[in-house]
């Protein structure tokens, strides 16, 4: 177990480094200037500004300076478009994204897993058919269609719900439903598949033959193994929620990280872009690791196999 953990941590560092390298060189390859809003300044002033941000140095020095600053000073650079430290922007907007993401994840698990179990238990019945069709519909309707529709048909008619905005408790409801829907649908499909596979195994037949009640068969014998595919999906699900939040934050005007990311890409704000990419990457690496650990905890077979395949 410790060896597995160390291996995965090292891999996580490697992932972040690869992400940094790719983002760094891509952002350098984007032609155009980061300071276009200040067009009327003299060349000299511009050179000074570039110097202030350390953009005058050779590219390899810049490439090494950024990770060095993160490790030694905890600094993610200063946003060239906002003039504020990137870390400030992250700490200000991340809590909103996190709350939204967690609520969406909670919604997805709370809806998706029970539907999946129900479908599996009533396999090939009309319930199964209806649930899986709804799940497929959930996967295929994009959040940017669901979101506006919820705004106009739900938020506008129920008092207390606002069409867009952030700040009150009830404002979380519609964005997290919109965001969590796709993951809920995937979770339902995965749970159904996982449980069906376990239900076909010998020990379940033995349990049934011994006269264990159907509910106990599901709760005690099937759930633990049957939920594994769904749990393995939680890491990627978190990634999906974060990328999905770009859209949902735009629709419901949530002051989260997504909008900053899109702005950074369009204004060629390379420090903001690097900082946000690394932060997203870090979150996803951590979530994947947690999902792996949880899988290992639930499934002893995974615990001792090392690496992949």
């Amino acid at each position: 177990m410790p060896r597995f953990l160390i291996e995965r941590l090292l891999q996580g560092v490697l992932v972040l480094f690869a992400l940094y390298t790719i983002t760094f060189f891509l952002s350098k390859a984007m032609p155009g200037e980061p300071f276009t809003s200040e067009k009327n300044i003299s060349a000299e002033t511009k050179a000074n500004i570039r110097k202030l941000y350390g953009l005058d140095k050779p590219i390899w020095e810049q490439y090494l300076a950024y990770p060095k600053n993160i490790i030694t000073k905890g600094s993610f650079g200063i946003s060239t478009s906002k003039g504020r430290p990137v870390i400030d922007i992250i700490t200000q907007s991340f809590p909103n994204s996190l709350i939204l993401g967690l609520c969406a994840l909670g919604f997805a698990i709370g809806i998706g897993v029970p539907i999946g179990i129900l479908s599996a238990v009533r396999k090939n019945s009309w319930i199964d058919w209806a649930c899986m069709t709804v799940a497929m519909v959930g996967i295929c309707i994009p959040s940017f269609t669901i979101g506006p529709l919820l705004q106009i048909y739900v938020a506008a008619h129920i008092p207390g719900l606002k069409v867009a905005g952030w700040g009150n408790l009830e404002d979380i409801l519609l964005p997290s439903i919109t965001l969590g829907l796709v993951s809920a649908a995937y979770l339902a499909r995965l749970t159904r598949g996982g449980i069906l596979e376990i239900l076909s195994q010998d020990f379940v037949r033995t349990a049934r033959a011994k006269g264990v009640s159907p509910i106990q068969v599901i709760l005690r014998h099937t759930l633990r193994g049957g939920l594994l595919p769904a749990i393995a999906y939680l890491g990627p699900a978190f990634a999906a929620l974060i990328s999905g939040s770009f859209i949902v934050e735009t629709i419901f005007q949530v002051p989260g990280m997504g909008q900053h990311f899109v702005n950074a890409a369009t204004t060629r704000d390379e420090f903001l872009l690097l900082g946000l990419s690394l932060f997203f990457g870090f979150l996803i690496v951590v979530m994947n690791l947690l999902a792996d650990l949880l899988t290992g905890l639930l499934d002893p077979r995974v615990r001792h196999t090392e690496g992949i395949d």
Binding site: A18, M136, C140, F144, P148, F246, T250, V262, G281, D309
Partner: protein, 314 residues
């Protein structure tokens, strides 16, 4: 992955089996017909439609009529024509990005699986690393980079070849998206290819080719890859809806296809602006989009089940 006996060697019966299994799957067949209908609508019927970019400010938000089946949008453009032309872009993004990623994925996965040993381990670790990187983050950055280059390319083509400026501009606005998605989308596919190559390289005909003294490259490209092509292409149908979705996400965020070009993502984005009064501007493109994705998913699932393509690790 050493099982899957002799499916491929009995070429004709594999496809025959698959076809009969496919025909029994009502969802998959339904999906297939919807896709066929959608393709013919977008690529054939669109030629008979009115110009999707014809602005008519005196006829804004017209209700549906014989002239404009779905009515008109905020600039008086025919919504039906815009949906069909938008469908061309969305479907092309799905198909071209898939082709690019299949091409990369097959070569990469086949080399990795065929070489085995340390080369294989390193190549697969690279894939693992790239898979852990948030996809949308990379696509956004790569798309931004590519579209700046393609802006230069537009200027160059217009200056040197006298191409129509508007047409070239529209073309070069879409092309970066194809490649940004395709260049990053091959990772899962390469794993599937690798698993298949590993099971095929143990077979007698490969042994025979080795015994005949053929070069590794020849064995790989002439004997192994043709045998895995079918199942791989089938599996790749499952990635098409994903690419279409990413196109829509990027366009919705204003980072993909731009107006006056239309794509389903652009139309949904435009429609969302007039939600309170003109909900059909959002609903109709959304319906076409969802229906296509729905059918593609069913079709892909059905094809995969029919051919029993197994992924090494999903």
């Amino acid at each position: 992955m050493t099982e899957q006996p002799s499916t491929v060697s009995q070429g004709s019966s594999l496809w025959k089996d698959a076809r009969s299994r496919m025909a029994k799957n009502k969802f998959a067949m339904g999906g297939l017909w919807v896709i066929v209908a959608m393709f013919s609508l977008c690529f054939i019927c669109a030629w008979f439609c009115t110009d999707p970019n014809q602005v008519n400010l005196t006829n804004k938000f017209a209700p549906s009529s014989i002239e404009h089946w779905f009515g008109t949008d905020a600039l008086g453009r025919d919504l039906f024509a815009r949906i069909l032309y938008g469908g061309q872009v969305s479907i092309l993004v799905g198909l071209i990005a898939t082709s690019v990623s299949v091409a990369i994925g097959i070569v990469y996965g086949a080399i990795s699986g065929f070489a085995g040993g340390r080369t294989d381990a390193i190549m697969m670790r690279i894939v693992d690393t790239l898979l852990a990187i948030p996809f949308l983050v990379l696509v956004i950055v790569l798309q931004a980079t590519l579209s700046d280059w393609s802006g230069d390319a537009t200027r160059w083509i217009v200056e040197n070849f006298n191409w129509d400026k508007e047409f070239t501009g529209r073309l070069t606005n879409v092309v970066p998206l194809f490649f940004a998605l395709g260049l990053l989308g091959w990772l899962t596919l390469s794993r599937i290819v690798r698993a298949q190559v590993m099971s095929i390289k143990e077979r007698e005909f490969v042994e025979a080719a080795v015994a005949l003294g053929y070069s590794k490259g020849r064995i790989l490209f002439r004997h192994i890859i043709p045998n895995i092509l079918g199942p791989t292409v089938v599996y790749s149908t499952l990635t098409v809806p994903g690419f279409i979705m990413y196109e829509a996400i990027l366009s919705f965020l204003g980072l993909g296809v731009e107006s006056p070009n239309s794509s389903w993502g652009v139309l949904i984005k435009e429609g969302a602006n007039f939600l309170e009064t003109e909900v059909q501007l959002l609903l109709l493109p959304g319906l076409f989009f969802s229906l296509t994705l729905f059918s593609l998913n069913f079709l892909g699932d059905g094809l995969r089940d029919a051919l029993d393509v197994k992924a090494a690790k999903d």
